[in-house]
Structures are given as C-alpha cells and as structure tokens.
Symmetry: C2
Subunit: 217 residues, 2 copies
C-alpha cells in the first residue's frame, strides 16, 4: 500500500477516491502525502479478520457489528470521508474516527505485541521439541501459537511500520518479566494470584461484548 501511494498514482486518469484497510496507519498516511493532488485519500482499518485467505474464506458478516477506524487529516475532504464512511456502514460496521498515531499506539497493544508474544512462545519452545517431540503440546499451546501461523510477509510489514510503538511495548514486557521473575523467585503466592486475577479481569472486560456473545471464562 505504501509503495502504491508513493507512486502518486499520477499515471491514473481522472480523479480517484483512495482508501485502504491496513493494520497500521501512520506510515500509510505519510505515504498518502505523495498522492497526486487530483486524488483524495481516506485511511481505514476494520478491526476484524481471520488468518484465512482467498475467496473460499469470504464471510459476508465479517465486518458486521465490528469497529472500523477511519483516520482523516486536515487535508481530507468532508465528501471523501462521508463516502468511505458509507462504504463501511453498508457492510454493517461501526465507524469511528481517530488520529492515525493514536490508532497505531492502541493496535500495538491489542494486536501487534500479542502477535509477537505468540512468536516468542514458539521460538522459546523449540528446545522442548528436540527433547520430547510434538506430543507434549496441549490445547493451550495450540491457542497461544495460532497467531504465529499467520503470513510472515503481512506481519513483517506491520512490525516495520509500527516498530516505534512495538519497541515501547517490549519495554513494558521487560518490566512485566522483571516483576514476575522477582515474585516467582521469592515464591510470593499472594502476588502470583493477584496478577493472574488481574489478567483474567482485563480479558473479561476487553471481550465482554464480543460478537457472538458466548461466555468464555
């Protein structure tokens, strides 16, 4: 998308309204600045999807009741914004507007760091594969490693275009590791319980009104 925008689409006749559905927005918006001024651009990101690809995985309700973030800037015309908003609304999505940098900061915490944690779970487990083979892996490992099965090209680009936020999140992770290491080393049962309860509470608050509505805990 960045390369497409940077080409400016100068060779394309007429006037285009261009939008996107990329997982990071700041880099896309920066590239959109190079678009031929005949065209207009509205950044978008639907918070929905799956690891599947291709027309066989198509789902007409994929965006229904999900949020789509649009990231208008001062140069976005009201007309262009309204047309892209109508597109997502027609798919059943709830549209919110947000600064692209705020979008990227939030998505780093809710999607990009989780993806990297899934990758870490796989990389850390490699010695166990050598020692014991695949039969020692239960459903917990299957769940937590699912993200790491995603497209390496897609995720390379997400990581590259949101790397400043991701580096900041790795600092948070280092702090969490340090805290838990200390708690484990001193065998602090109360602190371990409190941390586990806090994590479960955060999860239940985050997913309370998830589509489908099934209780999961």
């Amino acid at each position: 998308m960045v390369e497409l925008l940077e080409s400016g689409l100068a060779a394309v006749p007429g006037r285009l309204l261009v939008t996107d559905a990329c997982s990071t927005k700041a880099a896309v918006l920066a590239a959109a600045g190079k678009l031929d001024p005949r065209h207009s651009f509205v950044g978008g990101h639907p918070i929905a999807g799956s690891e599947q690809r291709g027309s066989a995985a198509a789902d007409p309700d994929l965006f229904r009741d999900r949020v789509t973030v649009l990231t208008p800037t001062r140069s976005t015309s009201a007309d262009s914004l309204a047309r892209v908003r109508e597109l997502w609304a027609a798919l059943g999505s709830r549209v919110v507007e947000m600064d692209p940098r705020v979008h990227d900061r939030i998505l780093a915490l809710t999607s990009h760091l989780p993806h990297l944690l899934s990758v870490f779970a796989c990389l850390a487990a490699a010695p166990a594969l050598e020692a014991a083979g695949r039969d020692f892996f239960g459903s917990g490992f299957r769940d937590i490693s699912r993200l790491a099965a995603g497209s390496d090209e897609v995720w390379r680009d997400i990581f590259l275009t949101n790397r400043d936020n991701l580096v900041q999140d790795l600092e948070t992770l280092v702090r969490l590791v340090s805290e838990w290491r200390s708690v484990l080393e001193r065998g602090d049962a109360a602190a371990i319980s409190a941390g586990l309860k806090e994590a479960a509470l955060i999860r239940s608050r985050l997913l309370r009104k998830e589509r489908g509505g099934a209780s999961e805990s």
Copy 2:
C-alpha cells in the same frame, strides 16, 4: 495434592496405591516421600484437558491418543507402575515414562511459559482498554488471552511448584525481547521475516499430528 501427600495418609487403613494428574511433578514426588510406607505412589500427568470444569464438561475421549507421562522413581514398585499404566491405557492414552525433573523442564516451555505470555498480553493491554475500549480487540487477542482466563488457584500452584524452570524460561524471554528489539530498531526486514518463518515452522512441527488432524495454517 502436595498437602495430601505430606499428611502421609497415615490415618487411612489398609494399603493404598496413590497416583495424581498434576501439571508439575518434582514437587509432588518430593511430597510423596512423606507417604506412610504402607502406601505406594506413582506420579502421572496426562497432556490433555481444557479450561472447562465440572461434570457437564466431561469428555470420554479426552485422553484418547494423547500422551500421559508417568514418573516412576527407584522406590516405585513394578506392580504399582503396571497398574497405573493400565489405567491410562484403558482410557486410550499413550503412556511414556520420564524423570520428573525432565517433565517439569519440558512442560515449563510448552505450557507454563505460554500461560504466562497470555497473562502478559492481558496486563500489557490494560492501557488500551482505558484509551479505546473493548471494541479494538480482534480474534487474535481473544486466542492469545484465552489461557489467562483459567483458574488462578490452579495456575498459582503450577507456577509455585515449577518456579525454577519458569525463571529460567523468563531468561530466555528476555533474550528474545532483546534480539527483537534490536532487529526492530534497525528496521531489519530480512531478520523479521526469518524470525516469523522460524516461529511458524516450529509451530507446524509441534502440532503436525495433533488430534483431529485438521490443517490450521
């Protein structure tokens, strides 16, 4: 289980064959040393289960084609070991014998560290909940955070009884974070791709012959 074994079961009449299904084995084996010598103990751990509880969640095929680890020691009688082995075989499980310390080392990598990573994903995401609310969480976050919804009492005890291995795994995690931070800071696309591919490969090797056999990636 540790408390039960440490009581020695001295007040129980007759001779008991005692076994368990706990997720860590070294601490259970140490406690079993206090059992009244009339009784005998064989440690066990089926690599199967779910986050659900209660009789409504019962599954007669839960252990079918899954591995159960038994951890006999020098004091385990051949007869006791054979009887516990038959129990698990009757449930369809494949039984392997392993040193309890090796079991705990492997499970730290394949289950206990992944659980803690799921907890970290939730704890790290808390600021996003404050900033944007729950609608910014997609299916990826739901998957990776599922483990953190488990029982805090069960996982407190697992973490406490396997804390030395878990601390060692947190050192591995610190090394991974440091490597990825460096790769991200210098925007090394080739190294990011290589790491993502390696993680996906490890996952596919680990889960290749998973029960159900459905291809997932």
